[in-house]
């Protein structure tokens, strides 16, 4: 059913928009690259060893997240793991026939051919992730204080583990649904666009979700009408949306600056 696919993708895009805002607040944007790529590694590996796909994908993605968290390195380790994950997928695809098909489907996603099981899993994970989001949102906000220290204690191990499970769940679900490329696009672009125009943290998270859903809906329609793959259309759509918002913001800044300059001139003119 086309609407099952549409709604599944809509839920995933909403989650990725919200998650992307969290990643940006956490300063962990590069982690998304590694985790998304390693969930694809898990998916491809599962096709070879004939194990449950989501379980293996969650295990490999979770493992990559644990490594990145333990190393506490915001760039080198996530990027290194991303490259290692890409190399693993290419090697598996080059050496196993069934892996080649699986690798392509994890890169491009199964959005238009979403199965009943995947749709149900997506509905369940989306619901749970949205229910627990306020808890994590507070955690992301309070972590901004460091190295200053306020009244709230640093999150303990269990809170950090719960957050890692949350990230792993939404990234694995998204990679299985819309593919690794679209997952990254929906995690990164909407948060970048929202950061340009939001006045506070709540607006930022809401705008990120809004831009993500908007980008998804436009790309979904365009990809169907023009008979094009979803991920490239989504990236182009989000690029255009970013350019539009950045230009509108620059225009508003220019007009404010001009009004300010005119005000200064009119103040000076009576004296001259």
């Amino acid at each position: 059913m086309w609407w099952t696919a549409l709604l599944t993708g809509l839920g995933v895009s909403l989650l990725l928009g919200l998650g992307g805002a969290g990643l940006m607040l956490r300063g962990s944007v590069w982690q998304a690259l590694a985790v998304s790529q390693w969930s694809a590694v898990g998916g491809v590996l599962a096709s070879i060893i004939a194990w449950p796909v989501m379980t293996v994908a969650a295990l490999t993605a979770g493992l990559s997240l644990v490594i990145v968290q333990v190393k506490r390195n915001s760039e080198q380790w996530p990027l290194g793991l991303f490259l290692l994950g890409s190399a693993t997928v290419l090697l598996l695809a080059g050496n196993f026939a069934q892996a080649e098909l699986s690798a392509a489907s994890w890169a491009e996603g199964q959005l238009y051919f979403v199965t009943r099981t995947l749709a149900l899993s997506a509905a369940l994970i989306t619901g749970l992730a949205l229910l627990t989001l306020p808890f994590f949102f507070l955690q992301w906000l309070r972590l901004q204080a460091q190295p200053d220290q306020g009244t709230f204690p640093k999150p303990n191990g269990w809170r950090l583990i719960a957050e890692a499970v949350w990230w792993t769940a939404i990234i694995v679900l998204a990679t299985a649904t819309v593919g690794s490329i679209a997952t990254l696009a929906l995690l990164l672009f909407p948060a970048w666009i929202a950061a340009l125009v939001s006045r506070n943290a709540v607006q930022f998270v809401c705008f990120a979700a809004l831009f993500s859903v908007l980008g998804y809906l436009i790309a979904w329609t365009l990809a169907l009408v023009l008979d094009q793959p979803f991920a490239p259309v989504l990236i182009l759509t989000l690029c255009l949306l970013s350019s539009f918002v950045a230009s509108a913001r620059a225009l508003v800044s220019y007009r404010s600056l001009r009004r300010f300059a005119l005000g200064q001139t009119s103040k000076e003119s009576p004296q001259s």
Binding site: R142, T151, R199
Partner: protein, 207 residues
Amino acid sequence: MGILTTIWSFCRSWRVPSVISLSNVVIGASSAPIGPISLDLDPGDRFILMSPNGAGKSMLLRTLAGQQPALSGVMRKADEVRVGMLAQAHPRARYWPLSGRDWLNLMGSQCLIDPLLADLIHRRVDTLSGGEWQYLRLAAVVGLPVDVILLDEPANHLDAAVWAQSVRLIRECASEKAMLLATHDRQFAIELGFEIRSMQALMGSSS
């Protein structure tokens, strides 16, 4: 002599208990240890640490805040003591979509909103000048409902007007809170009128 010792012990047991107490504590890295340091912070104590760069002021504040472990010695904290801290610097991302109000909320601050803060709380923190950002952070920490406040170089980046406002803000901080500041700004320390101590003095008081 025995009676005097007993009386002294009795008096000590009745004095207000320290919120944080350091006894022969060595801080820093094992390759360059600093100490041993002894210090008792009681409710209402106000000290200023003034020592040259590299003396270990920031490290001591981080150790007191629990952000860095001590290498050796004994550090005691009263039950459920809460510590707030202004770090020496807090780098900002180029795009950081938090407002001044968000900052006060995420710190858990209950500070009074003075005219300067009233302007800052509606602006994004990534659009504030260095001095405005420092003042917002300082006001947030001073307004925390905590037992101990640690301020590392609170006068950094401040212009004359905000500098004077910061002195007022710190002076008006609730009297039951213990406060320890590290600064190189002698005029700031004099204006505050708190007792000035050096790291050497803290090390000298260790037994």
